[in-house]
Assembly symmetry: C2
Homo-oligomer: 424 residues x 2
């Protein structure tokens, strides 16, 4: 005998299924998978290619940016990043187009040469702490180098610091990858207390490194709701732990992904070690592109103004997703989601065991989402419930349709789960 | 009792010394140390920054070059390098600004992951063959990774292949770094026979790799004296040894050092292994800069035409050095030098045991040369006789003066050596 709740669910499910079949018949191809800027955002920075931004080819210090040399980047770029990250110019290196490569190279260096220590490649086991959900490419680097990953849950104010404080007592735990501001995908900014507890860590490993991937440091969505991240290196002043942190940043989502500049901030000792490697690895990065960026933005304020234009484009897209979730999912007990103040993602948690199924349902209806599990090490979400929503790339109309379909898929999968449980 | 020859030498020496003191009093600062293009050469490519070369931002295949993606570079760039290197596009990857980084990364990958083999970092000993004199940055990479270097002399047609064929019988010999065309510093282009013997190598190590640094492949100095290098991959067809070779090239000395594009050519298997690493390391290199280069040059012929303009600037500089050597050193039995058909260097051999002294004498008179020994592994020239002359960077007037001083220093040092020997 079915009770009335169950009958209602079944009837709702059949309603959703018929909607879903309708979408499928549309042969759509909608992509919400990656945190990519859309073409309107890309157009914002096109003026950077005006000849006037590079015309002299001379850096302020008299360097000819067209020629070899200047391993650590032009002073003009350092000034801007120094202002944004609140670190001294001597603690900065300006790189090429990607902070991902900078992080990869840093870990690679630790593997082959250690960090003032035994090369990690020579150790039986190297472990990294991975706040979850997190950024798949961080996990990718760890996996590539055979670094064992340990999940630590992200809480409201950052990763679970109690757990991290326990874990670092293990000497084989060599580091953490994290996105401390507008985290990927949760949009969490670490609280002052979290940052201070990071700074206060006294790991058993003397070559412990936190990769502080400040990818979204200027990526606010709202004028009146902006997170502020405590400067990690200032927090370290109290504990003398500056060597534990490698901070990276890039202009990939400020100007152009792949054609921007990246920077690394670190302690004197770490900068020295990195430069020592760089003298062998390169004669210098693209200084003309550095000059272009420096003269186009002039200073940190120039970047902040520019980011408001990005936010104007992104806000309506986040709104579309949040409104659809509110309208279709709120109060049903089948999903919760974040409403971040910045960054590129909305993190969606659905009923346990349903994420993979939902992503598959969406894919079959022509909506590509970030793979379920991608936000966890080894691609394994133990509760199979997190889906990273990337609303930035598709045009609004496509996004509306894609989210509509996503909501149908979520409700379908979650109802099916309930009915299956009842049947069991 | 002095004989008349000795008296003549002493009188000549005192004449030279007084000249030298005169130069010293001029407080000069002349730099012939690095293979850098001069500002006239750099100006040749400035039109590349016209907006029309990037204006659409679309690659032929419809990729938006402003956004993320396309790990191995745009097709337009592959077409050009495919023509120049005579390899299929599928065997090419387009990189960022520097072939040096590409080589570093490749060796780093071999250290951590091997080349389809045990990671080199896990082996007791890894050795590389280094044709000498050679390029200091190749030696730098080996030294950085703890790879033991074995000197093999450069002969008229390339490195001593008899020696190389013997050395590769040792399983710990994992590779060779070489510049097969207009070699640094000798300007030697490997003969067809040398290339074939390279291709025919059957090393004991199954992960043997030749880094075929084709840095000067289009860098001819003369219209009527151009070297032709046999295509290494074609030579491999006979022996099935394609996996042994990693070829690199860049536009550093075609457009702008640091702001150009680099490329790697390799076998299907090697390309696959490198791409596998790259998917973790980067989301892609600067595609806007690739597009700029591709549309500016259009094809290999565009590059070849452009290189003639470089040659027009470089020929007179090489002439200055060669004329001064001819005038001041010929027939004295104290020096020999190369007269290359292309590349960036003249290789100078002085009397044994005199190179360091000469470089020091020049430095004291304000003329910076490439360090003596730099053209040998570990900075040790066993005969202390080779000096790499880089005539490209200084303006003609400065170059004339610098070479004049160099010739004085050479003669001084060599006469002093003879007198010292007589005294002993």
């Amino acid at each position: 005998m079915q009770n009335s709740a169950e009958r209602n669910l079944k009837s709702r499910l059949s309603e959703l299924k018929s909607k879903y079949e309708g979408y499928k018949a549309m042969n759509l191809s909608l992509d919400m998978s990656r945190g990519k800027p859309d073409s309107e955002q890309l157009a914002l920075s096109e003026d950077i290619f005006e000849y006037k931004y590079i015309g002299s080819f001379q850096s302020k210090s008299g360097i000819d940016c067209r020629n070899y040399g200047l391993l650590d980047g032009i002073d003009e770029c350092k000034s801007i990043f120094s202002e944004i990250l609140e670190v001294e110019k001597k603690n900065l290196i300006i790189f090429g187009n990607s902070s991902l490569s900078v992080m990869y190279d840093y870990i690679s260096q630790c593997m082959v040469f250690g960090a003032g220590s035994t090369p990690w490649a020579k150790l039986d086991k190297v472990k990294f702490i991975c706040p979850v959900p997190g950024y798949d490419r961080h996990f990718g680097i760890c996996q590539h180098f055979g670094i064992e990953m340990i999940n630590v849950p992200m809480l409201e104010n950052g990763p679970d610091m109690d757990m991290i404080e326990e874990l670092v007592k293990d000497e084989s735990v060599k580091g953490v990858f994290c996105v401390p501001k507008y985290s990927n995908p949760d949009g969490v900014t670490f609280s002052d207390e979290t940052v201070r507890r990071f700074a206060a860590l006294r790991p058993a490993a003397n070559d412990f490194r936190v990769i502080w991937d400040n990818a979204y440091c200027v990526h606010h969505l709202y004028e009146d709701r902006q997170d502020k991240l405590l400067n990690i290196f200032e927090a370290c002043d109290e504990f003398g732990t500056h060597d534990n942190f490698i901070e990276v940043i890039s202009t990939s989502k400020i100007t152009f992904p792949g054609s921007g500049v990246a920077a690394l901030a670190a302690s004197d000792a770490n900068i020295e070690a990195i430069k020592k490697r760089m003298t062998v690895q390169t004669i210098g990065h693209d200084k003309i592109n550095m000059l272009r960026h420096a003269l186009y933005f002039k200073d940190a304020e120039g970047i902040r103004k520019h980011m408001k234009l990005h936010a104007d484009i992104l806000r309506p897209k986040f709104r579309v997703v949040l409104d659809a979730f509110e309208k279709n999912l709120a109060g049903k007990g089948i999903a919760s989601w974040t409403n971040p103040n910045g960054g590129y993602f909305i993190s969606l948690d659905v009923s346990e065991g349903c994420a993979k199924k939902i992503v598959k349902l969406c894919a079959d209806a022509g909506v590509t989402l970030t793979g379920a599990g991608a936000t966890f090490p080894y691609g394994i979400d133990p509760l199979d419930r997190n889906i990273r929503i990337a609303p930035t790339y598709p045009p609004i109309k496509e996004l509306e349709l894609a989210v509509e379909i996503l909501c149908v898929c979520i409700e379908m999968a979650c109802i099916e789960k309930v009915l299956l449980a009842k049947a069991a």
